[in-house]
Symmetry: D2
Subunit: 335 residues, 4 copies
Amino acid sequence: MKVGIIGAGRIGKVHAKNISMYIPEMEITMVSDPFLNDETEAYMRACGVQKFSKSARDIFDDPEIEAVLICSSTDTHAEMIMEAAKAGKHIFCEKPIAYDLQKVREAIQAADDAGVKLQVGFCRRFDHNHRAVYDAVRAGKIGEVNLVRITSRDPEPPTIAYVKSSGGIFYDMMIHDFDMARFLAGSEVTEVCAYGSVLVDKQIGEVGDVDTAAVMLKFESGAIGMIDNSRKAVYGYDQRVEVFGSAGCVQDENDIPSTAILSTADGTVYGTAYKVMWDRYTNAFVSEMKAFAQAVIHDTQPPVSGLDGLYPVLMAAAATKSLKEGRPVKIAEIC
Amino acid sequence: MKVGIIGAGRIGKVHAKNISMYIPEMEITMVSDPFLNDETEAYMRACGVQKFSKSARDIFDDPEIEAVLICSSTDTHAEMIMEAAKAGKHIFCEKPIAYDLQKVREAIQAADDAGVKLQVGFCRRFDHNHRAVYDAVRAGKIGEVNLVRITSRDPEPPTIAYVKSSGGIFYDMMIHDFDMARFLAGSEVTEVCAYGSVLVDKQIGEVGDVDTAAVMLKFESGAIGMIDNSRKAVYGYDQRVEVFGSAGCVQDENDIPSTAILSTADGTVYGTAYKVMWDRYTNAFVSEMKAFAQAVIHDTQPPVSGLDGLYPVLMAAAATKSLKEGRPVKIAEIC
Amino acid sequence: MKVGIIGAGRIGKVHAKNISMYIPEMEITMVSDPFLNDETEAYMRACGVQKFSKSARDIFDDPEIEAVLICSSTDTHAEMIMEAAKAGKHIFCEKPIAYDLQKVREAIQAADDAGVKLQVGFCRRFDHNHRAVYDAVRAGKIGEVNLVRITSRDPEPPTIAYVKSSGGIFYDMMIHDFDMARFLAGSEVTEVCAYGSVLVDKQIGEVGDVDTAAVMLKFESGAIGMIDNSRKAVYGYDQRVEVFGSAGCVQDENDIPSTAILSTADGTVYGTAYKVMWDRYTNAFVSEMKAFAQAVIHDTQPPVSGLDGLYPVLMAAAATKSLKEGRPVKIAEIC
Amino acid sequence: MKVGIIGAGRIGKVHAKNISMYIPEMEITMVSDPFLNDETEAYMRACGVQKFSKSARDIFDDPEIEAVLICSSTDTHAEMIMEAAKAGKHIFCEKPIAYDLQKVREAIQAADDAGVKLQVGFCRRFDHNHRAVYDAVRAGKIGEVNLVRITSRDPEPPTIAYVKSSGGIFYDMMIHDFDMARFLAGSEVTEVCAYGSVLVDKQIGEVGDVDTAAVMLKFESGAIGMIDNSRKAVYGYDQRVEVFGSAGCVQDENDIPSTAILSTADGTVYGTAYKVMWDRYTNAFVSEMKAFAQAVIHDTQPPVSGLDGLYPVLMAAAATKSLKEGRPVKIAEIC
């Protein structure tokens, strides 16, 4: 299965490397990026890539290429999906599809109409820890879901320039947690209520965003969700989930680099969380790509569908509105 | 220091036993309870009590008695405080002082006017685990507080009769967490937003209460709080707190009956949480009473003041209103 | 049940306090100690003791006293047991009964002949963690026992004066682990092989003892035991056991003062072990005394018998010989 | 750097796969195995291998090949090392070099004489957990080493046929722990005392081996080591080390497949150890090969030298003799 990668930034490189090492069923035919440089080409060649272009058009036009990985900037995602769909390519698209709901819907429609597969890059669903929690919930081990709690804290805030163009914490950061909440609860969200503060960096507030946020969710099932985000956890990349139900509770802990435990007169020190996202979700990126390859090869439904890409954007819109208006916002209000 | 205990129910007995075993600086002179029976008298005698009465009046009138423990039903707390204050007795009162805010304020005023000490029975502040979290926060180990997360789940719902008269989950159960939130955050709450569901027992809904609740709090400092409650956690009494700040995060785990770990072909089983509140907070009840004795003896401010009794009731009122009206409610709206 | 305490040192005081607080079925009639002083008397009076004597004889002669607690120095234990037996008193005796095997046997015989109960103070059997391990083993949860591993490390070495008179590390410190090994394995030891080093304090070596020791045990059942001791663990009092069998493995961890976990940029710090033996085994001392009281009251076999007192002394003798002669020593060689 | 792999069994395949995925600095030119079949060739081709032979001779004769990986059966290791040395190839050899000490010494000598690098495959030194323990010890975090404890238990015993030809548990299984003990202690072993039992499978006893073994070690430094082995731990592959010293203690725990924790009315279940060696030591195999490649490329000393291959064999010989003769055996007795 030959693929093209659109966008050779950080995430494009991660996918290229993973495919070359772990996904023998895929071969990367071409990489396109308007800002291709020698270093990037060298990196990509080491991943087995032979052809390069400044334009995604060359990928769409290559009849050999069966699927594309859209790893370009968020504002191009929707258009790329529509182009790829038109060209009959299966699509793996990084999250979010777009900040604009209309565009998200059009992109999903385009893929549907063209009959191509569309998988959205919510990689955390493929993390071994979150997956083990999900599996326990789906296997009925905690009975009916009553509460979902998600903590998601980054080790360092992004640059202010990035924050400005990010769409805000709900679109950029909590969107992963919105997806995780639906995934774990097994029920759709009907209402969102958001609180937010600027506690990490005043400049984040000055560009109109918050850096600390908490959200409550109402699910159709009656279950309640709680999410908290911070742009800065000095101890590392902190990602934990908990699902509480009628028959029990399942939660996960952060991965740690080693299990070594040191006891001295000063106390007992355990391994601390990873400091970098790529270390925590190393395998998750591989697994999501493997799943996409399998869905294309076996002509099955990708595990994260276009609609799975839409819902978190709806939730982000509702959270943004809730924070602005100081009241709970129903998903039905968002259109 | 001679004390009288008003109310010889479950909590009255716990305090009597603890005083007899662990608080040599206190002696229980009299116990009053309108429903005193032989069994209770025998129990109290074993705790060193000599005098009994059906009326708290006899305690107020006993010139030997320096302090009273108000362990009667919640609807009598405020009146008992006022009577005790009039009689010049120091007061330890179980939580909450009252459901009615006016009564709470009058009771606090009465104690103030009389110059007697008033400590409210928020025992969890004295739990060794929560206290270690608090100590780390106050010692500045996590820097400025950004987020407070509290989980509080009971092993079994109370009887429907109890639920009816309890004032609702926010007054009866989450009131402890409201106190804990202020205690840990070191800042007052300005707004509350509550979500609630009936997921454990339909009858709880039929009498107008919820059994699963989540609340977000805004603190003056800008920090955000999150609390979740469930009336039924099948795995035991689940009480955990987490405080996240600019320099780190501190959290606690449930106590477990033993540290034994069993690994078999079926997996690895660790100790699970206690099933009963009294087992988890055994030492907390002792420590709060010790603290009250010390405050009286050394004429210092009790560690949980009358105002500490007032604020959680304000928060419970705000949460109740928030749930009813489907919107965040400012504490300032409650009067 | 009225008891007399012989010896008012540290351990005598611990038992007195525990009886006064937790063992309502016992009453301490008299305390004897040749070096009684005002402070000790005051302490004991607060535990409800009324009568004092410089001589244990007064306790043996008191017809009211049903049982004695022998808490005097080790070299007097055997004689005290024989005197108490002659006087028809039930006996709780601190470990070890004696360093001399002949004396141990005579003391046990004396108690047997007199038909009085004799319990030896191996308190660790009553620790909640070790007991949970034991219960799992006895319940068959790990199948047949194959290996027993015991770690036992003190926070600080005793004084050199104490070391000199202690009988050596195997009699003074590892004797508890010898008892624990038999207790957990459910099989008698047939051979002991000891290694020892002086790594903590040269003076310990100069008085003929070691401060770091390791022992392997052969059990009748074919199982193998391993014990390690150190006189100095800077991180606290370290006591862990592990039993590995055909169907699994069960182990315990040290208790910790709180479950608080602090994550900062410097790492994640958990609670560390207690620094003091009395903190770790607080409840174990209560439980063993409760068990003794129950055995006397209900006329049942005490849970730690005279023979349970003998076997660890045999093992200590074998270990001492093994270390000296540089070879494994069979218990059958010791007589 | 072009390499040849001698022996295409399980471990040869693991190395081939790892080189193809993770060691870009190596390229596998040829694989030799007397029992090469189509399936193995296909597997190896997928790892980039182009040439195959039934004889290692073809590898030694290939001037392109700079280094060999000796993955053939243990009885051929020493001879292969000598042949490779003669051919001037650098050598990575699986453990142990041989059961016969004379052969081990000759092989090491041959490599030394030829000036080729020789690394022995003690992969556990490269495990991230054991390495973190080692790093803490070497960084002086626990001060002087006093005790080393190693537990090593396999999930399932090998076939009886394998046991017969394995050289016994000390050469086949505990040899890894002998290496680990030296590695962690940073001191040579001077004496070994072994206990062994047949508790897992009588047939293992019938062919002259034991399936449960414990060993004590004396180190030159005065430190003491303890190792236990079992051929069958039903809960998985159990590999833990602990080093105790004058300034603290460092230990590791088994890796677990996920951090998910499930609490139900039946208790709290954590992740259990991996069931298969290859899952636990996945990265260790990669790291040791990376280290070998680096040593060759940069002409540095490989991290596990020929002498590191010799010492564990000396210890295995001493342990075997100790078990047979029922006494501690000095390494100096082995020649």
